[in-house]
């Protein structure tokens, strides 16, 4: 087990009339290097779960485990943990406070107490990693970038911690189609090229489905399904009942299969679908 939870329960404002159970008895574990999705309708506890993974929220009961050790056993440990597990919040560009892209990204490494030359190196690396030229952007004002660029800078601001696990809360909210696509390319590269464990919460499966190794499905604070992506995405009806729809391409493949055509349904991109339908046409003699 690399990262996971054991019977994690979280109650907001316990002991008041406003108490709400955000998570109940959630247990799962993920392997190093995995690309995991946390899906579920809004209000299902995705954000709450995510914020437990690097100790920003503390369990009301149960445990969060990282490399077999309970998260938050002591304060010093928490700081080290937050360095290793990066968390990109929803609409992360709302956290901007600096007057240059450089300072914004340098915030995290400076907090780590690194010297300026190392900080500079990390800022440049992080910018390049998200596909922005350091020379061109480092002195720009972060508030005056486009929405897509802001999101990338916000991600670079977390990458500069050089984490091993990267967690995103709804990474594509408010982005246009092109920026969304770029973002998913970036996430793929971080996972496959740099070997980061990537965990994403979303309720839009469109682009995320193709990337996922494993999937956790939350509903009303409970973990209702968990397992390898194919197994989960096969349960189309159950997902539908939770208000979750598969990518349109996958829906079409399911419909074709229902009509009796011999196609596999675990297809999440247009490209795969094209190939699969071509194959089917070659094999299939009505």
């Amino acid at each position: 087990m690399f990262i996971g939870t054991e019977k994690l329960t979280h109650t907001y404002m316990p002991g008041t009339p406003f108490a709400t159970e955000a998570l109940q008895d959630v247990s799962f574990n993920l392997q190093q290097g995995e690309f995991a999705l946390i899906i579920g309708p809004s209000g299902s506890g995705k954000s709450t779960l995510i914020q437990h993974l690097n100790g920003l929220l503390r369990p009301t009961s149960g445990r969060v485990l990282f490399e077999g050790i309970a998260v938050g056993s002591n304060k010093h440990e928490l700081l080290r943990l937050r360095r290793r597990i990066g968390l990109v919040f929803q609409i992360p560009e709302e956290q901007f406070f600096s007057e240059s892209v450089f300072d914004e990204i340098a915030f995290a490494p400076r907090n780590l107490g690194l010297d300026e030359s190392e900080v500079e190196k990390r800022v440049n690396e992080s910018l390049e990693k998200v596909g922005m030229q350091a020379e061109k952007f480092r002195n720009r004002h972060p508030f005056r970038l486009s929405a897509g660029q802001k999101r990338l800078v916000a991600i670079a601001a977390v990458l500069s911690l050089q984490p091993e696990v990267l967690i995103f809360d709804e990474p594509t909210v408010g982005l246009d189609a092109i920026s969304r696509k770029n973002l998913y390319n970036l996430l793929t590269a971080l996972n496959q090229k740099d070997g980061l464990t990537v965990i994403i919460s979303t309720h839009h499966l469109d682009q995320a489905a193709a990337l996922a190794d494993s999937v956790l499905v939350l509903n009303q604070g409970r973990l209702v399904m968990a397992g390898p992506a194919e197994n989960i995405f096969n349960k189309r009806k159950q997902l539908y009942e939770l208000g979750l729809t598969l990518p349109p391409v996958t829906e079409i493949m399911h419909e074709l299969a229902e009509k009796g055509l011999p196609v596999k349904t675990a297809v999440y991109t247009l490209q795969e679908a094209r190939g699969e339908i071509k194959n089917m046409k070659r094999r299939y003699k009505p």
């Binding site: 914020q51 700081l79 919040f89 901007f96 406070f97 915030f107 907090n111 780590l112």
Partner: protein
């Protein structure tokens, strides 16, 4: 750090006290507060304290909320006690430490003042615990209305108050979210000198201001889109009607006032 977001002090409930008209609630509170200030005997004060506790029971407010509400005045109460104990003379000497004496008059008066303070706080607490902040401001706005004739824009003041109240929980939630977001980026809000701590708040305050201004802008636009104009006469979606039971409560309190004055206990 991020204990809980307290939305005003309001505790939702269905009791008669919760459902009383907010305007009348404010009016009766003021009457009772005046009454408390004029009381001069322990027996009368005790009667009113018992009355307050009865109302708390009626509103089904848990006891610990009552204690929590009294906590902020604890310091003032202690301070008043000390002043009265040591600086009021008269009656018999109870304690003598060197040249400082505690005399019985001081004790009696000190305790009286503190009990009165507790009663004042309890009655006010009852109103804030059983009335939503929004209806409280609407209620207060009503009493501000006559001030329009001396140039105070009463409607607008009430609007400003309710808008600010509306945004307190939003901004608190936002600041907690921002705090966690910056913690995830390795920020440290707790250690270091005061100067360092103040500086560590910049990553919190700047984004908070940015979003507050953006929200204010959006809200202004939304209000204008719905034809909000300064100085226009506005009606309300939830008309605040005074029911017979509200009049009955007011009558009861006025009677109480009258009885207390005539018989004076």
């Amino acid at each position: 750090m991020s204990r809980s977001i307290i939305l005003g002090q309001y505790l939702p409930g269905e009791s008669l006290i919760h459902r009383l008209n907010p305007r009348l609630k404010i009016l009766t509170l003021v009457l009772i507060l005046i009454l408390l200030f004029t009381l001069e005997t322990y027996s009368a004060l005790a009667a009113f304290l018992a009355f307050a506790l009865l109302l708390f029971a009626l509103a089904k407010v848990p006891f610990r909320y009552l204690l929590r509400g009294l906590r902020p005045v604890l310091f003032i109460a202690l301070f008043a006690l000390v002043i009265y104990f040591f600086f009021t003379s008269g009656g018999i000497v109870l304690v003598r430490i060197g040249f400082i004496t505690v005399e019985s008059e001081g004790v009696i008066e000190g305790l009286f003042i503190v009990t009165r303070l507790a009663a004042l706080v309890l009655f006010s607490l009852l109103v804030t615990l059983t009335t939503t902040p929004l209806s409280l401001t609407h209620g207060m706005g009503y009493f501000l209305k006559p001030l329009r004739y001396v140039g105070l824009p009463a409607e607008e003041v009430a609007m400003i108050m309710s808008v600010s109240l509306r945004f307190i929980p939003t901004l608190m939630e936002e600041s907690q979210r921002l705090m966690r977001a910056q913690l995830a980026r390795g920020a440290d809000f707790e250690t270091g000198s005061i100067f360092r701590k103040a500086r560590s708040l910049v990553p919190l305050i700047v984004p908070l201001f940015v979003s507050a201004f953006r929200r204010a802008d959006e809200l202004a636009l939304a209000m204008e889109a719905r034809c909000y104009r300064i100085g226009a006469k506005r009606t309300r979606m939830h008309e605040d009607v005074i029911l017979p039971r509200d009049w009955a409560v007011l009558a009861f309190v006025i009677m109480l006032l009258f009885v207390t004055y005539t018989f004076g206990f």
